[in-house]
């Protein structure tokens, strides 16, 4: 049987990412911090320089040729994300500065308009701070109540407990699709259906899922889905908030300024239509344009192929790291993306990270912006290796050797 490793030519893919070919502390770089941000392939870099070098212009209102070209490229990204998410309508794709920005948009626009004192918002123990703090701010302002879905020790959500939290007071559920700290893939279709059954709207934090999982917002039936381009081999400072058209239309603008208006007088301003109502000010044109190239790059490889290959890496890494005495993998959920969090007996994760870095291996250490989750697991933090399509088994071998070196140095 053909495996993803056979289908994808990893060495050819690696050649598209020149950043990988460098020495760090005198050692060949192993980049395992992909859950924080993925590296960018040459076509994405070319798209950025192509825009600035060839047709840099402000979009939408210019009548000159450069503005026309920039506008067309900018709007082509919207269409590409519509395909990527299988959104029904083009205007359901709102450009943001990233996942966090999209969540804040929903909290500040939808939340402030439609939630009131005593209403309940449900999140989960697995959330990144980005999907906790905006709701806490809203609760503080509106007198809403925040409830949290618990997890088991493997890092799976307790869906039975979620059901108990749902009441007629539940107005909004905001849950992460894939845990950044543990890699858990949550059963979001179930979560969405159960929320809808009590009349709540659902936001999915897709920051970690979007590069690994094929998305279909219509099949999921989520009301909002927020993601970041920089975790999709695209540029930083660019993201997408998908929202159902009817809900977005009912929401007031979040920021005021240019682009989001139809007409302004000192007496009254009328607002633009979707999606521009939520895109005040000159947008991040270059990064929006380059994000389309990133999606095309993923398409070219085949998202299923990427997912299958990353799964092979995850299985291999789970086996290799599992053989190391004194290493405990944190997060053994039933379904995971290619993220391995681990702790070493008697060794601080920070020290692990420092020594691995000296060996040329980039991992992330700490609480991964999920302090409540770490508290639930009874640990201060972990070391986290997260894999992307350009990583290899040989690199995982180097990680395993590096961990043994860390243990030896700390003895």
């Amino acid at each position: 049987m053909q495996t993803a490793t056979d289908i994808l030519d990893i060495q050819r893919i690696r050649a598209d990412f020149p950043i990988l070919d460098q020495l760090v502390n005198g050692k060949q770089l192993v980049y395992f911090d992909n859950a924080a941000t993925t590296q960018k392939p040459l076509p994405v870099l070319d798209a950025l320089s192509g825009y600035y070098g060839g047709y840099n212009a402000n979009i939408h209102r210019g009548i000159h040729q450069l503005a026309e070209k920039a506008t067309a490229a900018f709007e082509a990204t919207r269409r590409k994300f519509q395909e990527f998410l299988n959104a029904e309508h083009l205007e359901e794709i709102i450009f943001t500065y990233g996942t966090t920005d999209g969540i804040n948009l929903v909290a500040q626009s939808y939340g402030r308009r439609f939630l009131k004192e005593g209403d309940e918002i449900i999140i989960s123990t697995l959330e990144h701070h980005s999907n906790i703090v905006p709701w806490q701010m809203l609760c503080e302002e509106k007198g809403c109540i925040l409830k949290v879905i618990p997890i088991d020790d493997n890092g799976d959500l307790l869906i039975d407990e979620y059901e108990k939290l749902l009441t007629e007071r539940t107005k909004l559920v905001s849950v992460v699709h894939v845990s950044n700290a543990l890699g858990t893939i949550n059963p979001i279709r179930t979560i969405i259906d159960k929320a809808h059954a009590v009349g709540a709207v659902v936001l999915i934090d897709g920051a970690q899922a979007s590069s690994h999982i094929t998305l279909d917002v219509q099949a999921l039936d989520c009301d909002f889905y927020s993601l970041s381009a920089h975790k999709l081999y695209g540029p930083t400072g660019m993201g997408v908030l998908y929202g159902k058209k009817a809900i977005l239309n009912a929401m007031p603008p979040y920021r005021g300024g240019g682009e989001m208006i139809k007409e302004v007088t000192f007496e009254k301003t009328t607002y633009n239509d979707l999606p521009y109502k939520f895109e005040a000010g000159t947008p991040n044109i270059a990064d929006v344009i380059a994000a389309r190239t990133a999606l095309e790059y993923i398409e070219g490889l085949g998202k299923e192929n990427i997912a299958a290959y990353e799964h092979e890496l995850l299985m291999y890494a789970t086996e290799k790291l599992g053989e190391i005495d004194g290493l405990r993998i944190v997060g053994q959920a039933r379904e995971k993306v290619s993220v391995i969090s681990f702790v070493l007996d008697g060794i601080h994760h920070q020290d692990t990270g420092v020594i691995l870095d000296q060996l040329g291996i980039a991992v992330r250490t700490g609480h991964h912006c999920t302090q409540p989750l770490m508290h639930r697991l009874g640990i201060a933090g972990t070391s986290r290796a997260s894999f992307a399509v350009y990583n290899t088994r040989e690199e995982i071998d180097r990680l395993a050797q590096g961990i043994l070196r860390v243990q030896k140095m700390m003895m």
């Binding site: 990270g353 250490t365 700490g366």
Partner: protein
């Protein structure tokens, strides 16, 4: 020995190592020798915030000098080693000398990123706190 003489001595010691990993091993070994901090100083007030590892710093005026006590949580060996170097340089010095000290050994031995970046415990905060103690005791000798 002055603060600068102590710094130069540390720089000479680290010059013996070519491989950064050997330097790190030396820091880890220093950390293992760091004397435990007196219980009374392990308080939230003495906790240095902003570090990935838990770090505490206490100070006592002894005669005309300041004696520092510091520690990190038991597993944070690199932090402990760096703490021991900061104590070696600044402890038992006069407040004015501590407050005005130019700490250059950290960069010279190639540990700048360990001390200044968040990843390795933000020990820059601890250094700043030590100098602040110097400033306070210099202006309030009692």
């Amino acid at each position: 020995m002055t603060i600068n003489e102590k710094q130069d001595e540390i720089i000479d010691e680290f010059d013996l190592f070519d491989d950064p990993l050997d330097k790190t091993q030396y820091i880890i070994d220093l950390g293992k020798k760091l004397p435990p901090m007196p219980e009374k100083y392990l308080t939230d007030d003495n906790r240095i915030m902003g570090c990935q590892s838990k770090v505490w710093l206490g100070a006592e005026k002894q005669g005309d000098t300041i004696h520092f006590f510091a520690d990190a949580e038991p597993t944070a060996q690199i932090s402990k080693g760096l703490i021991s170097l900061l104590i070696r340089v600044l402890s038992d010095e006069k407040p004015e000398a501590i407050a005005s000290a130019d700490i250059y050994f950290i960069e010279k031995v190639g540990m700048g990123n360990l001390v200044t970046s968040r990843r390795a415990g933000g020990l820059a905060s601890m250094l700043a706190q030590m100098k602040a103690y110097g400033q306070v005791y210099a202006t309030n000798p009692a």
